[in-house]
Amino acid sequence: MASYVQTSQAETLAPPTERYTLLGWVYKHLLSPWYNLVLTLVGGLLLYAIFKPALTWAFTGARWAVIPANLNLLMRGQYPAEEAWRLWAVIFLLALAGGYNWGVWSKTVGPALITAFAIPWLLMLVPWFSWGTRLNLLIVEAVGLVGYALGRITPKQRSQWAVYAFLAYLLAMLLLLRGLQEGHPTLPMVPTRLWGGLLLSLLLAFFGIVFSFPLGVLLALGRTAERMPAIQTISVLYIEFIRGVPLISLLFMSQVMLQLFLPEDFPQIDHMLRALAAITLFSAAYTAENVRGGLQSIPKGQYEAAASVGLNGYQTMRLIILPQALRAVIPVLVGQFIGLFKDTSLVALVGLFDLLGIARVILANPDWLGTQREVYVFIAFLYWIFSYLMSYSSRRVEEALGVGKF
């Protein structure tokens, strides 16, 4: 009698593989069946229609001279040229602190690290940069490597040094950028109204993120604190009010209206500081809602387990709940921070000379009439580079932390 029961153990087979020649791949994916052929043709025509004029313009028609002629303005606004070394010092220190943090937290050399070290080399290829700039980029590279090496040899028990290094960097950066007082021999004060271009955009985004993140986490905790109705109500009111108004109205409020409400003899508050405050307060409300989403994703069992081993409420939040909640919302938070970076361009509408504001100044110069496309394409490219960097590094951080793995 035929048996359908296996009499010996089934042998292990290799998984099926699909291998194509180049033509075979093209045929399978692009040409067959007939509707794929049609789609390929239509798609090809569309690409041609878009890229031909775009590339023709970029390589033959565009007056790219506007960019190198105004590169300093675009990069740092009216920040005095004789003080530009301070900006480079800020970048060197960033490379040092960043490399150090990297060395402390990640002990493996991966593709992300190689990418990070490739960036200065790629920038050296930009044709408009001077040799001085290229030399400085080389120093950035060297300083970053030194920081990384220091991080690698820092013992694991001293990981908190990385945090201290970052905080020290923040202070040094502010000191270098702003200087001490007017007429000081080495560090004369550079008032914030001279800060501009990419420098200002990056600073607004950077400090907006650094300040709004902790504020947002506190608001999220406040909103979920059911045992403290007063704090909860304040958090809800704040979040819902801020989310109910557009950022531009907050910016107008801070730049134009605020001074009208204050007493006449009240000293003028720094314009950049006001814009930064508006951006921070705005972003914090969104951070709060994103973090709240993360908090809600933590099962009740985690709170119970923490309580059952005797952790108090603060320890439970710090050691158990927040690490898991924040890890879960990294992708959302980074998306929001990328949005914040691009939203800083709104400050151009209230009279600050960020990247967009400077672009408008350049375009108003009669020498460069009619170069809107060149200038806007260039600043769009800058925005894209930094947004993509944030997005790329967040994916690397997610991988390192194993987001979505458990």
Partner: protein, 259 residues
């Protein structure tokens, strides 16, 4: 219809000092639903009490009241001489004396096995890290998985996770261990490894309150079995009494359904 009437409890004050858990007339409501309807139960040190009963009988709610994961609304619960009240200090004190093991393990997924176990000793007992890690290794040996110390919970099987959860609770050197259906979420072939650890723990003299459906475990390990139904204790007795000569109709019905 409880076997322990208030009268029988009033006899006990003379012996109260030798009870590590005292529950008097414990009531609790979820909204309008009366889950616990006057629970009286005293537990002596080193005693193993197994609580059985149909689902919804309030047995999990009852043991969760003992470390205040649920708040009882009437009656007294006194654990190791400390009354459970709204006083936060008492609650934290009791929680560090009472270990708990959950049905869903509730390990901390972002921490390694070692970190799961050493977290509370370091942050609550203020133990040194090296000391806590030595303790954790000792406990992992005891539950039989020292080689898993540096893995994350997600990399372990259910049975291994539950044994880590037991080690985590033991790391606080508790006087009492509560088990809330510790094997109900496990695949059948992993139940035994967890029950073996619990048996060893019982033999070592730990005071244990165990909610379970494992009748074999109850028969072998329990000093007393408590049968709960409809939010009250229907019958209390030795395993011998329970499995050979149950008195109450509801007990008989329940046992006939599960055995």
């Amino acid at each position: 219809m409880t076997v322990h009437t208030p009268e029988t409890v009033q006899e006990s004050p003379s012996t109260e000092h030798e009870h590590i858990i005292v529950c008097r007339e414990v009531h609790k409501w979820f909204g309008d639903f009366h889950v616990l309807r006057g629970i009286n139960l005293n537990v002596k040190p080193q005693e193993v009490v197994v609580i059985i009963g149909p689902s919804g009988s309030g047995k999990s709610t009852f043991i969760r009241c003992i470390n205040r994961l649920e708040e009882h609304q009437r009656g007294d619960i006194i654990v190791d001489g400390i009354p459970l009240t709204h006083d936060v200090r008492n609650i934290e004190k009791i929680r560090s004396e009472v270990g708990m093991v959950f049905q869903q393990f509730n390990l901390f997924p972002h921490l390694t096995v070692m970190e799961n176990i050493t977290l509370a000793p370091i942050h609550v007992r203020k133990m040194k890290k090296e000391e806590a890690e030595a303790l954790a290794m000792e406990l992992l040996e005891r539950v039989g998985i020292p080689e898993q110390a540096h893995k994350y919970p997600g990399q372990l099987s259910g049975g291994q996770q539950q044994r880590v959860a037991i080690a985590r609770a033991l790391a606080m050197r508790p006087k009492i261990m509560l088990f809330d259906e510790p094997t109900s979420a496990l695949d059948p072939e992993m139940i035994k490894e967890v029950l073996d650890v619990m048996k060893e723990l019982a033999q070592s003299g730990m005071t244990m309150l165990v909610v379970t459906h494992e009748m074999g475990f109850a028969r072998e390990v329990a000093d007393r079995i408590v049968f709960m139904d409809g939010g009250e204790i229907v019958e209390v007795g030795t395993p011998e009494h329970f499995f050979t000569n149950p008195q109450h109709e509801r007990t008989k019905l329940f046992l006939s359904q599960i055995l």
